[in-house]
């Protein structure tokens, strides 16, 4: 198998060496929705017409990160690697300009996007190492970039226990939000007795609004997730895996399907993985738009073809999961971290991050921030650095009010706490959570009561209806918030809201209900005055807040 990998790598390198220049056009979802596919086509056409298609390689690659400046095009030159450029807001119309500059050995200066900024310099890429470099639809490029080496090492040189030990040593924790130690989870499933077989499930039901990390990983580097799942299957003794993907991500599904077929053909998936006796199959399951399916027991019900309703735990899926069998469920980003851990060793990974949160985390920056896009930073980096240096601060000269992390289960962190390092424990102390990695910046035009109401409306609609506290509680809390926001409530109603928050948090069945009050609690904690300003009998310090206007 190793020889086969070497052959592919040599072939890929030889093919790349034929070209003097390379044009990489981002074809991930965000750039694609600004017509980057047409940009790619124009480049191919232009180079062909000018007779340069033999000396210049054009390909579509995964996410280049800075989504707000899309479509992005990266141009590199073999003989002068130092002068590679990144072009922003490229349209089919200005492709000729770039091609002309490329042929003349110049730079199309007015389109250049500076890459010496903190946005590009401050990142540490592990999960996203191949994003923007390889064509996500070709397995050969993934192999040439060192892909499937981790799997090969695992199945040929390591025992399942060795693999688990390595993951344990890396200190990797679940990237879906909970932060449960991955090695520990793997150990539990590996030790569990199966009636017939065990399962691996990859949770790609990225439901948090404002989060698009998993989508980007699946679209930019699908093989990495397949490799991680297969290694997990080997470690825990499973021979079947499911990827549960949101129905809203058609591009990710298409690329995954293609990747699974390619991996089977290469022999790194299916029966006899890498020429060993280990078998592993992966199947895709489509979600159909239910936020609650991100909860593991609800997700299992959905894979079984039922309504996605959670059930009480224990028993945990590690013992009693899919069809009653021991099941390992991890998030996309967690699996994507596994191949480099096996390749470089757990100690290498543990060398990054903080004492309790190791490695890196991918964040999706969105909202009132200059550089919206995808970033990967070491754990423990202060929020301020993410927002002001990497993110480039708040646009239109406005002032930052809060940073929202963790989606509807998270909270709003005010400006005063921006020095907080980003790790699981610190964020929890502030009343928010790490979540899956959506980071939404809000400026002074956002009213915090409205934000809390927005998230409560989300939880109310997404409640599965199984347990009463969540089903009824979220509706009541939403109406109270609505009344407060409309300026028709009194201090009594605010007190009732706080009481309800406590009750719903303590008595709901699953994570959705238990965390639904978080946005209310955190805004009450840091922005209580905004609530009081809206009450009929509250102690006002400022004028009555009016409905915030939309930003330009």
């Amino acid at each position: 198998m190793n020889e086969q990998f070497e052959q592919i790598t040599a072939k890929e390198q030889a093919a790349a060496a034929k070209f003097d220049n390379a044009v990489h056009v981002c074809v991930a979802a965000s750039c694609l929705s600004s017509q980057s596919d047409k940009v790619l086509e124009t480049f191919q056409q232009q180079l062909k017409e000018n007779g340069h298609s033999a000396s210049c390689q054009v390909k579509g690659v995964g996410c280049l990160g800075l989504c707000s400046r899309g479509p992005l095009v990266a141009v590199s030159h073999r003989d002068r690697p130092e002068s590679s450029e990144l072009y922003q807001h490229v349209t089919p119309d200005n492709a000729p300009q770039i091609v002309a500059a490329l042929v003349a050995g110049e730079t199309a200066a007015d389109l250049v996007c500076a890459t010496d900024t903190p946005f590009f310099q401050r990142q540490t890429k592990i999960v996203l190492e191949n994003s923007g470099h390889i064509d996500p639809e070709r397995i050969e490029e993934y192999v040439a970039a060192g892909g499937y080496q981790g799997l090969l090492t695992a199945v040929t040189e390591m025992t399942p226990n060795d693999v688990i030990d390595e993951v344990m040593r890396s200190g990797l924790r679940g990237r879906g939000g909970g932060g449960y130690p991955t090695g520990l989870k793997w150990t539990t499933v590996a030790k569990a007795d199966a009636k017939q077989r065990k399962y691996v499930i990859c949770n790609a039901d990225e439901g948090d609004p404002g989060a698009f990390m998993d989508r980007s990983v699946l679209e930019s580097d699908p093989h990495r997730v397949l490799e991680g799942m297969t290694i997990a299957g080997y470690a825990i003794g499973a021979d079947k895996g499911y990827i549960y993907v949101r129905g809203e991500y058609p591009l990710a599904v298409a690329r995954l399907k293609k990747a699974i077929n390619q991996a089977r053909r290469l022999g790194v998936l299916g029966s006899g993985v890498c020429g060993t006796t280990f078998n592993f199959q992966i199947e895709i399951r489509l979600g159909a738009g239910a936020f609650v399916c991100g909860e593991e027991t609800a997700l299992i019900a959905s894979v079984e073809g039922k309504r996605g309703q959670p059930r009480p735990r224990p028993p945990y899926p590690a013992e009693y999961g899919l069809w009653g069998e021991p099941t390992l469920i991890n998030n996309v980003e967690t699996f994507a971290n596994v191949p480099p851990i096996i390749r470089n060793g757990g100690d290498w990974y543990a060398g990054m991050g903080t004492a309790k949160s190791k490695g890196t985390k991918v964040f999706a920056l969105a909202g009132a921030i200059n550089n919206t896009g995808l970033i990967e930073v070491p754990m423990g980096i202060p929020l301020r650095e993410i927002v002001y240096e990497i993110g480039g601060g708040v646009p239109h000269g406005r002032v930052l009010k809060a940073v929202q992390t963790g989606g509807p289960s998270g909270g709003c962190i005010p400006e005063a706490y921006l020095e907080t390092p980003v790790d699981y424990e610190s964020l929890q102390q502030l009343g928010s959570i790490m979540g899956s990695g959506g980071l939404i910046v809000m400026d002074e035009t956002s009213n915090m009561v409205d934000v809390a109401r927005y998230f409560m409306e989300f939880c109310m609609t997404e409640s599965c209806g199984k347990c009463v506290p969540c089903r009824v509680g979220t509706v009541q809390m939403y109406h109270l918030l609505d009344k407060i926001y409309a300026g028709q409530a009194t201090t009594k109603e605010l007190a009732l809201l706080e009481k309800l928050c406590k009750m719903v948090r303590e008595t709901s069945l699953c994570g959705l209900g238990q965390t639904a009050p978080n946005p209310v609690n955190s805004t009450l904690r840091y922005f209580r005055q905004e609530y009081l300003d809206l009450l009929l009998d509250g102690e006002r310090v400022t004028a009555v807040a009016t409905t915030p206007e939309a930003q330009p």
Partner: protein
């Protein structure tokens, strides 16, 4: 215990064959219910009673369960959709950047709320939880094409074009 013989579809519409293929691929097992409903919706545009009955019968699943699943998930629609579709993203980034104004404008102009179709059947207005293109917020998806940085004017312009094309 299970009779896997295929059941005849309600009509000789060729689209049923696609549905049958999905069920076959999943071994006519109950666990393939969501996949099958996806296929029905892709082929017919929505799930009507006839198709729900057929799927329930074919997969040996109680109709109540099939109905339960098809109403539980947001992506399934039991009503016929309009000729075009306009999906407005209501994710957090889009929300704080002006989604409510877009929806309000559409409602004022065409008199429909999210989940409804215009009286002439020209288009359906839907909302999505997050389409994952937050860098371009606010985002709307017109007939599958994602358009970013929407303003009420730009959105109305796109919708008007559907009428002009008629």
């Amino acid at each position: 215990m299970q009779n896997l013989k295929q059941i005849d579809p309600p009509s000789d519409d060729k689209r049923w064959r696609i549905v049958q293929a999905t069920m076959r691929r999943n071994g006519h097992k109950r666990s393939g219910l969501i996949e099958t409903l996806h296929t029905v919706q892709e082929s017919f545009g929505f799930l009507d009673e006839e198709s729900l009955r057929y799927v329930a019968f074919s997969l040996r699943t109680p109709l109540s369960q099939v109905y339960g699943v098809s109403t539980f998930y947001h992506l399934f629609s039991l009503k016929p959709a309009g000729k075009h579709s306009c999906v407005v993203c209501t994710g957090t980034a889009c929300y704080i950047k002006g989604t409510p104004q877009l929806l309000q404008e559409i409602q004022e102009m065409y008199g429909i709320k999210p989940g409804e179709t215009t009286e002439d059947g020209a288009f359906s207005l839907l909302t999505a939880r997050c389409v994952g293109s937050c860098g371009l917020a606010p985002v709307a998806v017109f007939d599958g094409e994602v358009l970013g940085n929407q303003t009420p004017d730009r959105t109305m312009e796109t919708l008007r074009r559907w009428y002009d094309d008629e």
